[in-house]
Symmetry: C2
Subunit: 324 residues, 2 copies
């Protein structure tokens, strides 16, 4: 067992989080994570309506009696989803832990806090973490350059970002981006974090509700097989490198707008695409940690392995280096 | 004390290396590093001739009786420096440890090994580390995306690069790029390295033979204040962000060649520029770790602090998280 401020604050067994992953964060995965003693999050916007989210929360409760949370990601949009209604569904369902991400979480945070819900805010820069701490969140998830999805535009990896944030953050903090094994967990704890968040690593588990072709691609890919797209639009996303991601980058270099690449990036995006399993059709998120992924275990086996590795690194490897 | 395969193989007290830094790796700094129980390297090509290198080695020996090494960086060049003569000067001076970097080190490696010299090869990719291990080097220095100078073109940070390399490397390995404190040292050891290399952090010490203006700039700069230049030429270099680096990037975006930006990048490059102290004139190397640098200590105070931090993280922080 490894006990940290994070496990204590959130009442979980292991300092491992499966944070919000659009389309992937559904009851099958989240319940498996909870049952293994870690903290999983359903992704609110994966559900088409607030009512569907309420049903997904109920479905997850049938699969586990351990705590789990819901992620609410707030993106600037001309036609935004009904965030307040999703928030209401979360509160009324009795969820006790929420992960927020994205822009201007204050309104949502205030409502969650008023209902006694603990909030973890995920962000990619020290200055944003400091702002969230001031806003009153309960914990920070600090997300480095290595991550799948949106790493921000600063390109600061965890080795720098985690200690730089730790110097400014007083509340519990978990590290995100590039984590997949016990070595990374102990590194994060040494750098000043109280736990880790994993995304790509949880996608390559038996319970992740995506087609096996994506899992096998993550096993086969090395750490170099990701691309950063939408950099020219300052909305950078790290995705698995394939012919489509390369084409998007080529079009961006030639000055293309998002509207011009929109048809290309469709395909694997969305629940149907991820269930269909053509890894070369469209784009799909994957972090650099796929270079450290060599199998598709059950969530339980994965978490037990990570904890065993981490305990051995602390008890044997590091303690053994300490000469009198 | 922290003992690793690296400290044992190279006969040094602490698992900390000050690897080759062009213009900065001179006797004042290297002797201070050696006297503090770490492993410093003079940079061969900082000296104008092989004879001058022999004299610099002798000068360093007058300042310390502890082991130190020499870095030989091999760059592809139309008019290369007389590498074989520098190599001869290193061998004849009785140096016992060499750091190589750059292209095709085999010829140099064979000669060093034939003379009983231990060789550490620095590289930025797992495949290059595997090649160097096959060539017969004694240790690897694996250099991540965070580093000052040349990070390569793969953009893999240490959090991924170190464990990915550790999975393939059987000889001692040190981690480079992004290191500056005890948190980073323990993280590197947890990720599978046997020690760390620091560059930028050693530049911000009292003994580094560069103008104080650069040291103060590293203290003032945060982790975001670096730029990657020469990316378009596939010869990427991480430098301190200033008006010149921004101009170079702008010209590269417009399709400029190296010849066209050559005059811009002059200035602070070179020994005279670094002794002069205009941080806005020309470009100069700095790694992301400047975001974790808040003072300009002596080398001895720095190394004692890092070791004290690392020991406390292992003995107190991590051991304290282990619940029965």
């Amino acid at each position: 067992m490894i006990k940290t401020r994070f496990t204590q604050t959130f009442g979980i067994e292991h300092p491992i989080v499966q944070g919000g992953m659009q389309w992937v964060g559904r009851a099958e995965l989240v319940a498996a994570v909870a049952n293994a003693g870690a903290l999983g999050f359903l992704t609110a916007l994966t559900q088409p309506t607030p009512e569907a989210l309420s049903k997904e929360i109920a479905r997850c409760r049938e699969m586990t009696d351990k705590p789990f949370g819901v992620n609410l990601t707030i993106l600037p949009s001309i036609n935004p989803p009904p965030y307040a209604e999703y928030r209401r569904a979360i509160i009324e369902s009795g969820i006790q832990i929420v992960e927020t991400a994205g822009y201007r979480p204050q309104e949502h945070l205030d409502d969650f806090k008023a209902h006694g819900i603990k909030v973890i805010h995920k962000c990619t820069a020290v200055r944003h973490a400091v702002s969230a701490q001031k806003m009153g969140v309960d914990a920070i998830s600090i997300d480095g350059f290595e991550c799948a999805g949106h790493p921000g535009e600063d390109d600061i990896p965890g080795l720098i970002l985690i200690p730089a944030a730790a110097d400014r953050i007083r509340i519990p903090m978990i590290a995100s981006g590039g984590f997949g094994d016990g070595r990374g967990l102990v590194a994060a704890l040494a750098l000043g974090a109280d736990g880790i968040n994993m995304g790509t690593r949880f996608c390559a588990t038996q319970e992740a509700p995506i087609h096996d072709a994506f899992k096998q691609a993550m096993v086969a890919n090395d750490e170099r097989a990701t691309d950063l797209i939408f950099r020219s639009m300052r909305n950078t996303a790290r995705v698995a490198k394939n012919a489509v991601s390369q084409k998007v980058i080529e079009m961006e270099r030639a000055g293309a707008s998002f509207d011009e690449v929109r048809d290309l990036v469709k395909g694997t995006r969305g629940r149907e695409g991820l269930e269909k399993g053509d890894t070369d059709f469209g784009i799909w998120s994957a972090g650099m940690v796929q270079g450290l992924i060599h199998d598709v275990p059950s969530v339980k086996a994965l978490i037990e392995r990570i904890m065993g590795e981490a305990e051995a690194i602390i008890d044997d490897r590091l303690a053994g280096m300490r000469a009198p």
